[in-house]
Amino acid sequence: MDRLIKFELGRLNIHLPKRRISLRAALSSPQPQILTKDGGVHALKREELEFLSKILSESDWDKLQLPIFISLEPKLGKGAARIMGDVETKVVGQILKKEKIGSELIIYRPEVAVLRRKLPTTTQYFFVW
């Protein structure tokens, strides 16, 4: 049973990318996509990339790494999630109209829903344990 639980926990983050790509690289690619740890392909929607490029200055295009991680940590409490990274928090803060503190931003379930609705392919859940 313990092995099963460990296996399940190990599988939780299998959808994460092997390597993240910058917004500039994604914009310049004819088919923007990311390879995931399980060997799958995660395509990024061009309209989302264009939306992100509009809300960020061009100097930030290299700094924004995609997909943006929405970290779900049980220690944060039920429904809370953490966004990390300077540019990532800037983007999320602008979308949710929320002020960031330092280089991280704590968001809650309704905000996660809004964020996922706006950026379904350029954000990914990340389970921290």
Binding site: M1, D2, I5, K6, E8, L9, R11, L12, I14, H15, Q31, Q33, T36, D38, G40, V41, H42, A43, K45, R46, L72, P74, K78, G79, R109, V112, A113, R116, R117, P120, T121, Q124, Y125, F127, W129
Partner: protein, 212 residues
């Protein structure tokens, strides 16, 4: 009441059991987080399906009324002839995206709405009513493709949700209570052993004192 597991009531087992409970609790919390996120995604997909379906039906009704109008003015045979001549290819780009380990389709399309020249039928023998009907059907097709994508997402999410819910329930209602019950049993047994030892020592002490 959950049944306790059969283990030897030793301190070593107690330590191991505490570790197992911590792991099971962590697994439960994370899977519950995943389940909540899946529910949120599913509800969002369902809401979008509802909107998308309403829009698609409305657009289809517009398209069919435009087609009826076209058939009435241009004639059924001429309209059907033009439909046979029209290009039927639509360029769709189907890739996948990943939602918490679930591969779902991502459909992107360009140029579903074509101009009259790109449709392939003769402009010379048809009227603008046919162009209008074709345009309305192209718009409906766009909405239907979007709807199909959303439905595939919702099905995949629902299947994964069912699996995750089963795991969360197994941990919450079977495994964790069973482990806790076993922990309680070992602690009670160890307390009992300690009390027995204490009483035995007291008895031995009393016997030794009596002999003196």
């Amino acid at each position: 009441m959950a049944m306790a597991l059969t283990v030897a009531p030793t301190r070593m087992e107690l330590i191991k059991l505490r570790q197992r409970i911590a792991l099971a609790q962590k697994g439960h919390d994370l899977l519950k987080d995943k389940m909540d996120a899946l529910i949120m995604e599913l509800f969002d997909a369902l809401r979008r399906i509802q909107d998308s379906r309403a829009k698609a039906l409305e657009q289809l009704s517009k398209a069919y009324s435009a087609l009826s109008e076209c058939m009435a003015v241009l004639g059924t045979l001429e309209t059907m002839q033009a439909a046979r001549e029209a290009k039927k290819d639509v360029q769709l780009n189907i890739s996948t995206r990943n939602i918490m380990g679930i591969q779902v389709p991502l459909v992107e399309f360009r140029d579903i709405e074509r101009n009259a020249l790109a449709r392939g039928y003769s402009l010379h023998t048809t009227s603008s009513l046919l162009d209008n009907a074709a345009r309305e059907f192209e718009r409906a097709l766009k909405l239907l493709v979007g709807l199909a994508e959303l439905e595939a997402v919702a099905f995949a999410l629902a299947r994964e949700l069912e699996k995750t819910k089963r795991r969360v329930n197994a941990l919450e209602y079977i495994l964790i209570p069973r482990l806790k019950e076993t922990l309680k049993f070992i602690m009670m047994r160890l307390d009992e052993i300690e009390r027995e030892n204490f009483t035995r020592l007291k008895r031995i002490k009393a016997i030794i004192e009596e002999r003196r």
